[in-house]
């Protein structure tokens, strides 16, 4: 289970203005990756490009032997069946209740009898904790519930690749924590490849196996979680530790004068905070893609900040 997604030299622009260019990364099969970036850097655009909703100007997206941007319309619809996508607001069909929403992909794509559909739908609704709300319309429930229902619908065809567009936006910290745990548990149960697009650093620090950071129109860094959390690269360090000091300013990047002034005033960057432990599945059993805490740091001879992994 789980499919590798290989992105090579991807470039996308709107009206002559490049959103990001030359993005290359590999989402390892079965692992959880997070894509971070300041607001407005085109993270959602990246996600939509990845499922073929937007066409890139240049570059390839390899899924198994298919280069997504070059597929015919019909082949694209076939490859899309590998994907489950959780949109920002859940993107539920407003005219259907939750049950019909979750059952929709099954009714459209399979010839299963209604009794079997019912079984699958309730299984997925139970996974996201929505049993009892299946008669409700999307307009009648809270944003968090809509997100979870959207997740249930994304899961119903047993996708190999699951994409999350800001799963934590508009959720309170408790709900975010529950959702993050759910993501970890789902990865353990399904073994699918996960990509989460977010700007919540807490999620980025504790959930994924890999982190990528988009900044100023390019991919600043992509690699194992411990690599980025122990990195002293200014942009990565500033973003992952939510600091004001560094190259990112209020409006995109700071200009040279500001940076110089910052350097001249002699502000010391605070030391890197300890790397937290990764979230574990709630039943205690390991995930297939799980790495031992600190393994990457040991392999690469990097001393993690003091107090890490405890």
């Amino acid at each position: 289970m789980g499919v590798e997604v290989r992105v090579e030299g991807l470039t996308k622009s709107f009206g002559g203005h490049a959103v990001w260019s030359d993005v290359s990364l590999t989402l390892p099969s079965g692992e959880i990756s997070v894509l971070l970036g300041p607001s407005g850097t085109g993270k959602s655009v990246f996600l939509k490009t990845l499922v073929g909703l937007l066409k890139p100007d240049r570059g390839s997206i390899w899924i198994a032997d298919n280069d997504l941007p070059r597929l015919s319309e019909r082949a694209l619809y076939e490859v899309r069946k590998l994907f489950g996508v959780l949109f920002q607001d859940g993107a539920l069909f407003g005219s259907m209740n939750l049950y019909d929403n979750v059952a929709f992909p099954l009714r459209e794509h399979t010839r299963r009898p209604e009794s079997e559909i019912k079984k699958i739908v309730f299984e997925k609704l139970e996974m996201v904790g929505l049993v009892g709300a299946e008669e409700k319309l999307p307009g009648e429930i809270s944003g968090g519930m809509r997100k979870r229902a959207g997740l249930a619908r994304a899961l119903v065809l047993d996708p190999e690749i699951i994409l999350f567009d800001e799963p934590d936006s508009g959720l309170d910290p408790v709900r975010t924590a529950y959702l993050n745990q759910l993501i970890i548990d789902l990865n353990q149960q399904t073994g699918a490849t996960f990509l989460i697009v977010t700007h919540d650093i807490n999620t980025a620090r504790t959930v994924p196996d890999n982190i990528g950071l988009i900044y100023h129109g390019h991919l600043a860094m992509f690699g194992p979680r411990e690599m980025l959390l122990s990195s002293t690269e200014p942009v990565v360090r500033q973003f992952l530790n939510a600091q004001r000091i560094g190259p990112i300013g209020m409006a995109e990047e700071k200009d040279a004068d500001e940076l110089q002034a910052e350097a001249a005033s002699g502000v010391e960057l605070p030391p890197l905070p300890p790397i937290p432990l990764q979230l574990r599945p709630s039943d205690g059993a390991p995930r297939r893609a799980e790495h031992a805490p600190g393994a990457w740091c040991r392999e690469n001879g990097i001393a993690p900040p003091p107090g890490s992994f405890s």
């Binding site: 319309e73 619809y77 076939e78 949109f87 993107a91 459209e108 959207g150």
Partner: protein, 250 residues
């Protein structure tokens, strides 16, 4: 402008291709046909009565000035069946049905429902647009019948009761000049107008952007564009009709 027209034509061709693809969404089609007729029958009938009457009044006084009272019937019936009927139908379909289609699809677009549908492997054109276009075409043809009947009866009533025309002359002159192709071309116009209205509304709705305001703008544009398109289309079909079909008594 040229790019937008190109996109629209590509969209229309996609819809045509979707029409041929199975399974046809029967349920969605019936729901839409029912919905469009429910919002358009009453306004269409209410517009058709005064429309027929105005034509009867105008023509009534005009033909009297020309000294051709005996042809009032022919003139007003042909005007209603050939022109007024399809145009009234189209305006109602575009104003009532098209705006609703555009608002519905636009709202789905900005809520990312259409994206979600595509990701779930379902083509929104085949699933949503094709049934709407077919439904609008069917309702336009049927509605055109209603409008013609109501308009002709309105005209008859006004001519006979208010302008002291004779019922016999009214019907006889209509027999003398009218022919079956008049009705057929009226229905063809209605069919084309229904398709154009639904296509423009769907296209505008599916390309709405910029939040709720974008949906409002899309609905506004779709109604304006449809009206312009319909009158242009009407001119073309009418010109073709007179070129291709020989007229009685000429």
């Amino acid at each position: 402008m040229i790019r937008a027209s190109g996109h629209f034509i590509a969209f229309s061709l996609d819809t045509l291709r979707g029409l041929a693809r199975r399974p046809f969404q029967v349920r969605e089609f019936i729901q839409q046909a029912w919905f469009i007729s429910s919002v358009s029958i009453l306004p269409a009938a209410l517009v058709a009565i005064p429309f027929g009457a105005v034509i009867a009044l105008q023509l009534g006084s005009l033909v009297r000035q020309l000294g051709a009272q005996s042809f009032t019937g022919a003139a007003s019936v042909l005007a209603v069946v050939r022109e007024a009927g399809p145009i009234v139908t189209a305006l109602i379909i575009a104003g009532a049905g098209g705006s609703a289609i555009c608002a519905d699809l636009g709202a789905r677009k900005i809520r990312e429902e259409l994206d979600a549908m595509q990701v779930l492997g379902i083509d929104p054109i085949q699933r949503l647009v094709v049934p709407r276009v077919v439904a609008a075409m069917l309702v336009a043809v049927l509605l055109n019948g209603v409008v013609s009947v109501v308009g002709v009866s309105g005209g008859y009533l006004f001519n006979v009761v208010l302008q002291d025309g004779t019922p016999g002359a009214y019907l006889a002159s209509f027999q003398a000049l009218g022919q079956l192709p008049d009705l057929i071309v009226g229905e063809i116009k209605a069919l084309l107008f229904g398709a154009a209205a639904a296509l423009v509304a769907s296209y505008k709705g599916m390309n709405a952007k910029g939040g709720p305001k974008g949906v409002g703008d899309a609905v506004n544009q779709s109604v304006v564009i449809t009206f312009m398109l319909l009158f242009a289309l009407n001119f073309v079909v009418t010109a073709l009709y007179f070129q291709l079909v020989p007229q009685k008594g000429s």
